[in-house]
């Protein structure tokens, strides 16, 4: 206790010098905290989003730069039925346009077949999904969320109601045959928005048969260059590989590397690999900064020991043991780095707060990070304090007392 008190007094004695000494530690710890908070926030947010669509399909892409070959909707269906590890496959065609109900909203029509339902985590609250016949015949039917129904029709009781969709200058009337369940809160917000109060702007998505888009709206003909395969649980990799092989065989593209797999798992992989590299680079910078900071602490402590030679002599004459002097200076150096660590943590949180203003996800500050900072900064102080403290402790009291 006395050591801590005296270390603190000694640091306050020389505020400017102590602060400059701490600077390296402050920068190092600050960057560690920032990268940890941003990284954790990013992982948490993206991880959450990915989890939500994790059960979704794996996208198989035919690279338009390497080949002009493509599949038709029925070929996609055939491939899906041939893959033993999957429920099936569905073309994925998306069109953007205006959806006209009570008001005109912009939104998107997502074209697929009846297998698309396997890619949904949402459950149907009302009505049904479109069937195979509807999927292949260009039926003008659609499935949307309860929240979207409130926005378009003013009610969740929307099965059987129709709205107009305008895509590329053409307008079709689409009948709602099913509704996905939305959370109570989302529905409430939609009602609020409807009454013109503060509410959440919701982007509306409607699932429709792909043939409605390719034939009904005459979009891009029947050329399908990407489709989704819906694997059984835990069979993602096998399903994706089989689907790619079948696609290559069907199009005669073997060995041309023109068909690629884009699963969410592999996206997450790529993402976390990038994040890990960024983390590594920042950690490296932080480590160098901490090393330089630690050497700075050692330097200043050595100067301080020399300056206080006489004090050390006095303390030894009065009965301080080697260990007492050692502990006194170690307490001082680790106090410097600990305070530096806390200042760095505050700086890091400030920086994180600013960074989060420019990003769409909240940073996450974990208690374990704080503990990490305390441990790291204290041990830097202890480690780099050993040499000067040892010098102090080993001084000869007679020579130290004679020092001017």
């Amino acid at each position: 206790m006395e050591y801590i008190k005296s270390a603190f007094a000694s640091i306050m004695e020389n505020k400017a010098r102590s602060f400059l000494t701490m600077l390296g530690i402050i920068i190092g710890i600050g960057s560690v905290i920032t990268i940890l908070a941003v990284g954790n926030g990013l992982k948490h947010t993206v991880g959450g989003e990915l989890n939500e669509i994790q059960s979704g399909g794996i996208t198989i892409l035919i690279d338009a730069k390497k080949t002009d070959k493509y599949l038709t909707g029925s070929e996609v269906r055939a491939i899906g039925e041939e893959v033993p590890e999957a429920y099936g496959a569905s073309p994925s065609v998306t069109a953007y346009g205006d959806l006209i109900g009570r008001s005109t909203e912009s939104g998107s029509l997502k074209g697929g077949n009846e297998y698309t339902l396997y890619g949904k985590k949402k459950e149907l609250a009302d009505g049904r999904y479109y069937n195979e016949t509807e999927a292949e015949s260009g039926a003008a039917v659609g499935v949307m969320s309860q929240q979207a129904a409130v926005i378009l029709f003013g009610t969740t009781d929307a099965v059987g109601k129709s709205f107009d969709a305008t895509v590329g200058g053409q307008t079709r009337s689409i009948t709602v045959i099913g509704l996905f369940r939305s959370e109570e809160k989302e529905i409430e917000q939609a009602y609020l928005a409807l009454r013109g109060k503060e509410g959440v702007y919701a982007y509306i998505e409607v699932d429709v048969p792909y043939t409605l888009l390719t034939e009904g709206f005459n979009l891009s003909g029947a050329n399908i260059q990407s489709y989704q395969i819906f694997p059984y649980p835990d069979q993602q990799d096998a399903a994706a590989l089989t689907a790619r092989r079948l696609t290559e065989n069907r199009l005669g593209l073997r060995g041309e590397n023109a068909v690629t797999i884009q699963s969410f798992a592999s996206m997450l992989d790529t993402f976390s690999r990038i994040l890990n590299v960024v983390t590594l680079v920042v950690a490296f910078i932080a480590a160098i900064s901490l090393l330089v900071g630690g050497i700075g602490v050692m330097n200043i402590m050595t100067v301080s020991v020399t300056e206080r030679t006489r004090e050390i002599g006095i303390r030894k004459a009065l009965g301080a043991r080697t260990g007492s002097i050692l502990v006194q200076f170690l307490a001082e150096s680790s106090m410097i780095t600990l305070i530096g660590g806390f200042l760095g943590m505050l700086g890091g949180y400030g920086l994180t707060f600013i960074v989060s203003k420019f990003m769409s996800f909240p940073p996450r500050i974990l208690l374990s990070d704080v503990a990490l900072v305390v441990v790291i900064s204290t041990s830097i102080g202890l480690f780099f304090g050993i040499y000067p403290a040892y010098r102090a402790a080993k001084m000869n009291p007679i020579e130290a007392l004679r020092y001017e």
């Binding site: 004695e13 006489r310 004459a317 009065l318 009965g319 301080a320 043991r321 080697t322 260990g323 007679i398």
Partner: protein
């Protein structure tokens, strides 16, 4: 002679017991040699000196006479090259650094020429330092330090730092520090060397009073005027004791 004592453990034991009863300080045939070899310096040359509890001894000598070396030896800051130093019945001539630290803390109160207060601490904190190293609990430390500062008449300066005090006041803080935990020996090294004559008298009076209260005082000086205040005067030159006389004028 030392070797002989070692070979006769019984004899040595009896000797130690006897010392413990009367002799506080017993320096037996001590030499200190710096730079052994061609350019060796004999700072102390076969010095023997005994001091009993309750004595007030002045050790006087010119600079270079070996009195500083003797003072370092008596204060357990240094160990002799040969010979034995018995302090309070303990052989302190072959102790490790840490053991010496403990002996200094327990047995000796230092008063230096240059005061040697720690500048960043208040008067009271300075007085508490040896108590901290002794492991005295905080409450008791405060009581002892206040008492010691009262004894030197500085009860109203407890929270002042050394830079805010005169030389005489600083030396009185140093005396308070030396007596706070009531060590058997007060070792004063030129205590008035940095002071004007008024402050010097004041300090000498305090030292004499402490002696009258029963403390053993060893005063090291080059100034005969100061040495005359002590009832026993030991003169040292060229590393040898030249005279050791009673001084009836003291008192």
């Amino acid at each position: 002679m030392q070797m002989m004592c070692r070979r006769q453990p019984d004899g040595q034991l009896r000797r130690e017991e006897k010392q413990e009863m009367a002799r506080l300080v017993d320096v037996i045939d001590v030499s200190k040699i710096y730079n052994p070899g061609e350019n060796e310096v004999r700072a102390l040359d076969h010095v023997s000196l005994s001091i009993d509890a309750g004595e007030f001894v002045a050790i006087i000598g010119q600079s270079g006479s070996g009195k500083s070396t003797l003072m370092n030896m008596l204060g357990c800051l240094d160990v002799p090259t040969s010979g034995t130093y018995m302090l309070h019945g303990m052989d302190v001539s072959h102790m490790s650094d840490n053991e010496q630290s403990d002996v200094r803390n327990r047995e000796i109160g230092f008063i230096f020429q240059g005061f040697n207060l720690i500048q960043s601490l208040t008067a009271q904190e300075n007085v508490e330092l040896p108590l901290i190293y002794r492991g005295v609990p905080r409450k008791q430390r405060e009581q002892l330090s206040v008492k010691a500062l009262q004894q030197v008449g500085l009860a109203n300066r407890m929270d002042h730092r050394p830079t805010e005090m005169s030389g005489g006041q600083q030396q009185r803080v140093a005396i308070a520090r030396a007596i706070a935990q009531a060590p058997p020996i007060l070792l004063a090294d030129e205590p008035t060397g940095n002071l004007d004559s008024a402050s010097s008298r004041e300090i000498i009076e305090i030292i004499k009073r402490l002696h009258k209260e029963g403390r053993t005082v060893i005063l090291i000086t080059h100034d005969p005027g100061i040495a005359e205040q002590a009832p026993r005067i030991v003169t040292i030159s060229d590393g040898r004791i030249r005279s050791d006389i009673k001084n009836p004028k003291a008192g």
